[in-house]
């Protein structure tokens, strides 16, 4: 177990190192000058040069990367070019929203998918199954931004039940919760459609196995067999997909936060890239990579819990 952990940690550090270098390099090769983005098309070359010096952009590439790495090692993420405040502050004020959105999105996804998937599998080849499959097919096909706009038109503009966008802040918990309802649904719809199909397929796979027939033969209740015997044995592919979906949900927040005007990391990434705000892009990419790597690690741990055969050799 310790060796497994060490190996994973080394892989983790290598991943972050690689990702950060690639991003730094790409942002340098891609056309775009942060000073010009900030100062606009009426600025003089002299002012652009002054700003470049101020931001340290006159330093060579390698030197800037090493300086950034050195800063990272002591926990200093640097100062944003465009916002002119520490990158850490920008991330800290936005992280809670994106994480909450990703968490609620994931929770709704799992609950909905398990419910629908089990329902479809239990009614295999009957109208209920077909309906679930049809709905999930539509769910997969519908783009999240389109669904978002539709939800806003129905629930915010016509019915006026929920706000059309924006975020009142955590100091207003009820308002914050209301603001997250539609984005969560929009985020979870596609993912739960995908996951419901996986749950169904995985359950049907297990249904053919001998232990299910034995359980049936010994007269156990159908629901008991489904939830307590079949589902645990069908979990490996489901957990794999959930792990991958978490990364999708995280990137999905970029679109959702833009449509619902939510002040989260997704919108910040978008803004940072447009502004060629390298320190901010770097920090965000490293953060996202960390979350995904940690998530994958948790999935690996979960495999061991679900199925002892998959536990790493001691």
């Amino acid at each position: 177990m310790t060796r497994f952990f060490l190996r994973r940690s080394a892989g983790f550090v290598a991943t972050l190192f690689g990702v950060s270098f690639v991003v730094f390099w790409v942002m340098n090769v891609v056309p775009g000058d942060p000073a010009l983005v900030i100062l606009g098309i009426d600025s003089t070359p002299e002012a652009q040069e002054a700003l470049r010096r101020l931001l340290g952009l006159d330093q060579p590439f390698a030197l800037r990367y090493l300086a950034w790495l050195a800063g990272m090692l002591v926990g200093d993420f640097g100062t944003s070019y465009a916002f002119r405040v520490p990158v850490a502050d920008l991330i800290v004020e936005r992280l809670p929203l994106t994480l909450s959105l990703a968490m609620t999105g994931m929770t709704v996804t799992i609950v909905l998918a398990l419910g629908l998937g089990v329902l479809a599998a239990a009614n295999h080849n009957r109208p209920v199954d077909w309906s679930v499959m049809l709905v999930s097919q539509v769910g997969i096909a519908v783009p999240a931004f389109w669904l978002s706009i539709l939800l806003v038109i129905i629930f915010a503009v016509h019915l006026r039940w929920l706000p059309p966008g924006g975020f009142p802040g955590w100091s207003d918990p009820l308002g914050a919760a209301r603001a997250l309802v539609l984005p969560t649904i929009a985020l979870a719809a596609v993912q739960s459609a995908v996951l419901a199909r996986v749950v169904r397929a995985s359950l049907l796979e297990v249904a053919r196995l001998d232990f299910v027939r034995t359980a049936r033969a010994s007269g156990l209740a159908r629901s008991r067999i489904l939830w307590l015997h079949m589902l645990p044995n069908a979990l490996v592919p489901i957990v794999t997909i959930v792990g991958m979906q978490f990364a999708n949900v995280l990137t999905g927040t970029i679109v959702i936060e833009n449509v619902f005007s939510l002040p989260g990391l997704g919108r910040l990434v978008f803004q940072a890239i447009s502004n060629r705000d390298l320190p901010l892009v770097q920090a965000l990419v490293v953060l996202f990579a960390t979350i995904v790597v940690v998530m994958n690690f948790l999935v690996d741990i979960a495999y061991g819990v679900i199925d002892p055969k998959l536990r790493p050799a001691a």
Binding site: P163, E257, N258, S261
Partner: protein, 494 residues
Amino acid sequence: MKTILATLLLASSLLTGVAFAKTDISIGMQQEPTSLDPTADATASIETMMTGNVYEQLTAVQEDGSVAASLAREWTISDDGLTYVFKLRDGVKFHDGSPLSAETVKFSLDRAMAKDSANPSKSIFEPIESVTVVDPVTVEMKLKRKDAFFLFNLASGKASIMSPAAIATNADKPIGSGPYRFASWTRGDRLTLEKNPDHRDATGVQVERVTFRFMSDPAAATAALMAEEIDAFPGFPAPELLPQFQSDPRFSVNVGTTEGEVILAFNNSRKPFTDIRVRQALSYAIDRKAIIDGAMYGLATPIGSFYPPHHRAYVDLTGTYPTDVDKAKALLAEAGVAEGTELSLRVPPFPYATRSAEIIQSQFAKAGIQVKIENVEWGFWLDEIYKKLNYDMTIIAHTSPNDLGNFARDASYFYGYDNAEYHQLWDRIQTETDTAHRDELSREAQKFLAREAVHGFLFQLPALNVVRKELTGFRMSSPVQAQPLSALRWQASN
């Protein structure tokens, strides 16, 4: 219990809506700035929110484009037009409590002019030779040369008079002397200003609290207006969505003017655009009406040169090269441009540009020119097109006022245009302080540019504003980007 509370809250909010005049307003903005300091960042929305509201300048530009007093109470100009003496208002205080004086004015301007200054409009300070403190309320400025736009330019947010103590923190905690002071900013969502009770005009300011809500998506903006989450949206980004507001009794839709000339820019330093016949031919190939109908839903005024149609010195030159495909073909043949020649059109990510591009592509195809459209991102556009002149054609709006001087920069400016005759003409315009004579010269310059067909001149960008009917005092036209909030009033609706 919860339901009772909720009902009470709902009832009270309904009651207040009827019983008292609203004293707050929520304004939608498409573009969110990353910094709130107009002297450090060119983002237009900084000017819209801050200029004349939080930060004040020596002068102010009115909705009709004229210059009025602001922090400077009055001024005198010497006969040679080179010495300006400004008398400042007495007793002005910044929001941090520090007083305004001739020293702070000198500090602010010296800072903008300094060698290491990264002010986005540094060129407006270039004519200044020196700024001198005469006494605590008098500042004298000496100019190197006459500058017809000097007082106008001093009204820009880039020439804001700032509290020296607040310079380092203005990016996210702006301190000015204006009728509104900064309250809070939730980046990515909203920015709130509150009335400054100590301001000299405070008694006339009715709106106590102004919230700017940032929504980049036009559909989201529409939903927010419809759901009554926001009261106004200046510069509404999608003309195709306006009819639903026009037919809604809660809103008034206003199409105002801006200083934004939309041009199909030719890279004049590159073949085949070095040949005036090619530029003329392409100008003949353009059908402005079709472009305006298709890209702007008819809501724009065509231009035939580089000057805003609402200006008194404007000349209508749209007839210089009327749409004529045969003439276009003949001129192209004469210039030796083979039929089927491919030219690239690199388009920045603005709706007016991307939509115009497709129409121009089909119009040029009729004249035998294949247009290859490349949609590029803004950072890319600035670097590749603007800085490196790596393009054939592009579409862009120039939103600065008094920008005939763009054509008098050298060939390293992205137009790639350099004409000695025009340089002289512009020198005369910018140093001519007699209005009538300057207008005459401006007309001459417009005709010159139209004749030269430096670019394809398309249309003047409209200011599309959606505003609640009960709200008055909203500035509909934008001679500058400022949107003064102190004039806003809620009228009793019933």
